[in-house]
């Protein structure tokens, strides 16, 4: 059984058919990339998988369970975490607090325990904090823990989102253009980090325009074009695919440029 199965997904915005008949499967333990020109529907696909958007047709199963109609917090609880192409950090909090929110699912204390400062709540709060620091450490931002997120560089902010997503301990991690806005060195570090995450038994579904990174780290690639899947296979197969090459040479698909 595949970890994630996407079957016949369709979604339109007004007259724009953003996704049509999109079907694919993500295998456990892989880095699976989704590529395609701007407007191909990649982010829309992520929004549908993570429950922020409803598909107009199709079905999504995760770990054998139908998650198509679940609200986002239930999908997150089922084990799917994500980052956002247009960053969605909690600007009103510190870096550490942002990642602590990622531990929400892995903790339980409610309002009453908090109001009464019960020992069990204090203990849990300490564990949340330490775990969050561990994730910050993993992305190299330990020293920024107490800084407000607004004080970070763009690349660092992307890493905070990554740490927050990892802190939920997902089975599947959706990364929407994690390398955009990073310099080449930061991009290399990120590729290493994504590999380590995969080795840590988190399956990764990756949307990325940086072709060298995609070709380098992916096990499987799906190409979307105007909302339809036009090719899928290993990096070598995708490189050799005539239709993909046609899009490249047609100049629409300009690799790292966007």
């Amino acid at each position: 059984m595949s970890l994630l199965e996407v079957q016949g997904i369709a979604r339109a915005f007004g007259g724009v058919q953003a996704l049509q008949e999109v079907s694919f499967a993500v295998e456990t333990g892989q880095i699976h990339a989704v590529i395609g020109p701007n407007g191909a529907g990649k982010t829309t696909l992520f929004n549908i998988i993570s429950g922020l958007l409803r598909p107009h047709a199709g079905r999504i199963t995760f770990l054998g369970r139908d998650i198509t109609a679940l609200p986002p917090h239930r999908i997150s609880r089922a084990g799917i975490a994500r980052t956002f192409q247009t960053l969605a950090l909690f600007e009103n909090m510190t870096v550490l607090e942002n990642v602590m929110v990622g531990r929400h699912l892995r903790s339980h204390s409610g309002a009453v325990a908090a109001a009464l400062r019960l020992p069990r709540q204090l203990h849990e709060e300490k564990r949340i904090r330490e775990a969050a620091l561990g994730y910050l450490s993993s992305v190299g931002l330990f020293s920024k823990a107490e800084a407000p997120v607004s004080a970070l560089s763009f690349g660092q902010r992307r890493l905070v989102e990554l740490a927050r997503a990892l802190a939920t301990e997902p089975r599947l991690l959706l990364l929407d253009e994690p390398a955009s806005g990073l310099n080449p060195r930061e991009t290399d570090d990120l590729a290493q980090l994504i590999r380590r995450v995969r080795d840590d038994s988190v399956t990764v579904l990756l949307v990325e325009h940086d072709m060298s990174m995609v070709m380098d780290i992916s096990d499987e690639i799906l190409v979307l074009h105007y909302g339809r899947p036009i090719a899928s296979g290993s990096p070598a197969e995708i490189r050799a695919d005539p239709e993909v090459i046609a899009i490249y040479l047609g100049g629409e698909f300009t690799g790292a440029a966007c």
């Binding site: 993570s50 429950g51 922020l52 609200p71 986002p72 917090h73 999908i75 997150s76 609880r77 975490a81 956002f84 969605a88 950090l89 909690f90 600007e91 009103n92 909090m93 550490l96 607090e97 602590m100 929110v101 990622g102 531990r103 929400h104 699912l105 903790s107 204390s109 409610g110 309002a111 908090a114 109001a115 400062r117 709540q121 204090l122 849990e124 709060e125 300490k126 949340i128 330490e130 775990a131 620091l133 561990g134 993993s138 330990f142 020293s143 920024k144 823990a145 107490e146 800084a147 407000p148 004080a151 927050r164 997503a165 802190a167 939920t168 980090l193 380590r196 995450v197 080795d199 840590d200």
Partner: protein, 371 residues
């Protein structure tokens, strides 16, 4: 966790409250305590609203409606005569178990039997909570400003209802509300002999609300609320049931408003439609904004001070206008409150100066999660 800081703050505030009372009594200005008491109850409403508006980012433009529900339910149920009750066996046993209470007739020498003030008060909280669920459940499932619009309509309806309902006293409101017994010999009431006791009842209530909200905001729940404010979709994708949290906070703030409204009514012995007016709701929002939005302390201080000044008549005939101007000025120039820019500076300065963590953890002792 700011447990130490919170405890120190509460302790200091308690000492300050005692000092103010002693100062007022010694200097023969006991009458100040009346306005201080009413300002304390209002500050509790503002703190509860700051949890909703400031922390969670959901706007209520009808909180005076919840204050009014608490106030009118307390006043009506504790004064409405249950004429036949005292005669029946059931009535007698209900009296014995303090479900009903009797008091001397205002004009004449019989007695009137009504629901016990304590139960009338609790009924007000219950009703406010139920109404909040009714408004919040549909409005908070959607994203956007539906709650602001729904509560605006709700506030106007409550005002019209109390103004137009004969058994709620219409334009006159309800008066001769009996005392609410709190301890043996101590009641929430406006009797001059109980003025100091009532100052402490109000201070105790407000301090408890303060402690509760400080602890709540500095916790997993508080982070979830701020996350919803920061980015609702990111909060949802991080596993937070945003609709449920928003509803719970709305209901909580409504119940706090009703509690303050009820206590205020027993203290003053009366309630009128002006407390349900839309301008009162705007005032609450203005005070939350002036307190720095997401700041329980700010809400307390601003809610208390501005209400006290208003009750003292310091704003003269510009009373309502002052709150409107406060709202406009804050929103236009410093949406994070008058101390917002200062706070940002302090946070940035600290982040630069002291990269070490508040709890003193060092990177070596924290294991990396992803190797």
């Amino acid at each position: 966790m700011n447990t130490g800081k919170t405890a120190a703050g509460i302790l200091l505030l308690t000492l300050l409250a005692v000092a103010v009372q002693v100062g007022a009594s010694v200097s023969g200005r006991d009458y100040y305590l009346t306005q201080l008491t009413m300002a304390a109850y209002t500050a509790a409403v503002v703190m509860g609203l700051s949890l909703l508006v400031g922390y969670t980012g959901q706007i209520s433009l009808g909180h005076a409606g919840f204050v009014a529900i608490g106030a009118y339910t307390s006043a009506f149920l504790s004064t409405a005569p249950l004429a036949h009750a005292s005669g029946t066996a059931l009535g007698k046993s209900l009296l014995r178990f303090h479900v009903l209470a009797s008091r001397p007739e205002l004009y004449g020498d019989g007695t009137v039997v009504s629901l016990a003030p304590g139960l009338a008060f609790l009924a007000g909280l219950l009703l406010a909570g139920l109404v909040a669920v009714g408004i919040g459940y549909p409005a908070l499932r959607l994203h956007g400003h539906y709650l602001a619009m729904a509560t605006l309509g709700f506030g106007l309806i409550v005002y019209r209802l109390v103004l137009g309902t004969a058994f709620l006293g219409a334009a006159d409101g309800i008066s001769s509300v009996p005392p609410l017994p709190i301890l043996p010999g101590v009641a929430c009431t406006g009797e001059p002999g109980q003025r100091i006791a009532n100052y402490y009842i109000a201070a105790g209530f407000t301090l408890m609300v303060l402690l509760f909200l400080l602890n709540l905001t500095d916790s997993r729940t508080g982070r979830a609320l701020r996350a919803i404010h920061g980015s609702e979709r990111a909060a949802a994708a991080t596993g937070i049931d945003t609709a449920a949290y928003k509803l719970k906070v709305f209901v909580l703030s409504a119940i706090l408003a009703a509690a303050a409204g009820g206590l205020l009514t027993f203290y003053r012995g009366s309630i009128g439609p002006s407390d349900a007016g839309a301008m009162k709701s705007v005032r609450y929002v203005a005070m939350v904004a002036a307190g720095g939005m997401a700041s329980v302390w700010g809400a307390l201080v601003v809610g208390f001070v501005l209400t006290f000044l208003s009750l003292r008549g310091c704003f003269g005939s510009f009373d309502d206008a002052v709150f409107g101007v406060v709202l406009i000025v804050i929103m236009s120039f410093t949406p994070e409150g008058p101390f917002g820019p200062l706070r940002t500076l302090v946070v940035r300065f600290r982040a630069r100066r002291r990269p070490a963590l508040a709890n003193g953890e060092s990177e070596k002792e924290i294991p990396r999660v992803v190797a």
